[in-house]
Symmetry: C2
Subunit: 365 residues, 2 copies
Amino acid sequence: MISWSSLYHVVEAMMPLYAAMALGYASVRKKAFTPEQCAGINHFVALLAVPLLIFRMISSNNPYTMNIRFLAADTLQKVIILAALAAWARFSKNGSIAWVITLFSLATLPNTVLMGVPVLRGMYGPMSENLMVQIVVLQFVVWYVLVVFLFEYMAAQNAFMEQQQMPPPQANGSHSVDILAVNADGSDPDVSIAQEETTRPSGMLILVMAVKKILKIPSTYASLLGLFWSLIAFRFGIKMPAIIDNSLSIISVSAIGLGMFSVGTFMARRKKFITCGYYLAVLAMVMRFLIGPIVMLVSSFAVGLHGVFLNVGVVQAALPLAVLSFVYAEEYNVHPDIMSTGVIMGIFISVPLTILYYVLLGLRR
Amino acid sequence: MISWSSLYHVVEAMMPLYAAMALGYASVRKKAFTPEQCAGINHFVALLAVPLLIFRMISSNNPYTMNIRFLAADTLQKVIILAALAAWARFSKNGSIAWVITLFSLATLPNTVLMGVPVLRGMYGPMSENLMVQIVVLQFVVWYVLVVFLFEYMAAQNAFMEQQQMPPPQANGSHSVDILAVNADGSDPDVSIAQEETTRPSGMLILVMAVKKILKIPSTYASLLGLFWSLIAFRFGIKMPAIIDNSLSIISVSAIGLGMFSVGTFMARRKKFITCGYYLAVLAMVMRFLIGPIVMLVSSFAVGLHGVFLNVGVVQAALPLAVLSFVYAEEYNVHPDIMSTGVIMGIFISVPLTILYYVLLGLRR
């Protein structure tokens, strides 16, 4: 059973995140910050603070003691959902790659870095932080690469179908939060190279484009470098010198506060919270908070994951949508309205829902 | 005697500050951030991060156990220097209020919040953090009020002498770091009201203007509110609830890293490091790193301050110049070139000099 005091700990862990977000929202609404100033803070978060946080998280995590069963459950959840969506796309006349990507992102890509680590630590203690880090590694090294690959494949396919008669969809970053996007001015020179270089989609070329694109994202670098360091450091018992670790952490400690602040400024700059209509908003919430966690629960049983590991797995699957998923959706112009609604509504709905999952899972003991 | 290991601790405490500054410098030089984006980060630091840090520092400091002798030494140092400068201004034909303010700021206003607390903690442990906080209280509640009063007095006097025939000096915030300045667009509607409302300087009116101006600075609010809270909390044994403290700290932890980052971007946006000529640069360094600490040493002996308290007092007096002093100098257009040089050169010179003072003071035991 969950005690009132442990429930209070969860609220205590979530409250600062919402306080930082509310401060960002109020700052823009009270005109204390101009849109350009918000862009500066957001760019700092995306380019420096979050990548440094990810590097510190992953580099201090022992890769030789990773919980294979836990990661298998997480992987199985994503594979099941992807397979189901692919089958639907193949056999239904409404199916399309665009919807596969959107529904897959909604169901399987939660906000692990900014919200996952602090909230789960509040719920299940420092051990769960370690589990979250393992999910972060896979998220950046495998799953975002796949999502970008699908986006690039779709873009190439469209270019082929349109015989380069229509202009390719343009990235529109003016209203976006570029958490983990890359250039100072929001532009991305490579976004439509796939369309230009090929007249029919070639799997290999598209993969190369996707990897090139992914390698421009500081968080991907940070994940790979962190993994590389941890593989060496934990193999040979090398410790990061305190002077270097402190130099990284002086910036990385700002990531969560500034990241949530930035999400708040993003909300304040949108005209409406729900931009995609109520039907699609409900669909987005069902994918995020029902399908995702339930498939995670099934996957966990399937691989024999038990106890607190199962709980951490399910609760993290019920976190709000990752902001990065919205950034890509806007960049490739694939249902950005749904993803924006998913991020914003998700943050509000997640408070009762995440706590509900936490309490329900606590009843099992 | 100072051991090698304690010297390493000092370097360990200073290094992250310089790493954050170097990152800010490199980010601007590599064009990863536009000037507007830098302004956004800087504005966040000035409006939210530093004031919240100051509030947390002061509100958690027990005002009933303040070290009166330590504060007396700090106060005496400032009074001696101010009296000497005032006498010089009265009896020398080169003397002026402008030079009194500039030399007083150079000699007595170190960077206590961003650098003082972490560096002194590295040198003398957590106890010195507490002493630094006590100096921060006086700095914001007394000394900056005095400096702004003198600036306003001078502005009013100039307005009187010029019979409002010449336009008043305009604030030029385009290149400044607005650490503790106030508006999003850098404007300050009240800056020349003193000149408009009076045709001859009236002490009372000028004081009111100065206090009004000071009360617009978030750090002053934060100091007063923090002091108010601590007076009540430590009187009646009230503790700040963890949920509120965490909500404040999620933003305040970013202050030191982002503050130093912001100083780095400020350096990168200046065309030259030394903008006031070598003679004045040397004068600035002598005031900051020789006169200030030596008068602090004399004052400490005068009030009978001994041991580690004396050491903390002298070393903090040899920290780099406070960035806020430069901000005011630029706003009132009183020797901004000297103050800019003072901030930038001071940061580089302070590493060997602060350590030298630390070692020399350590020899006394």
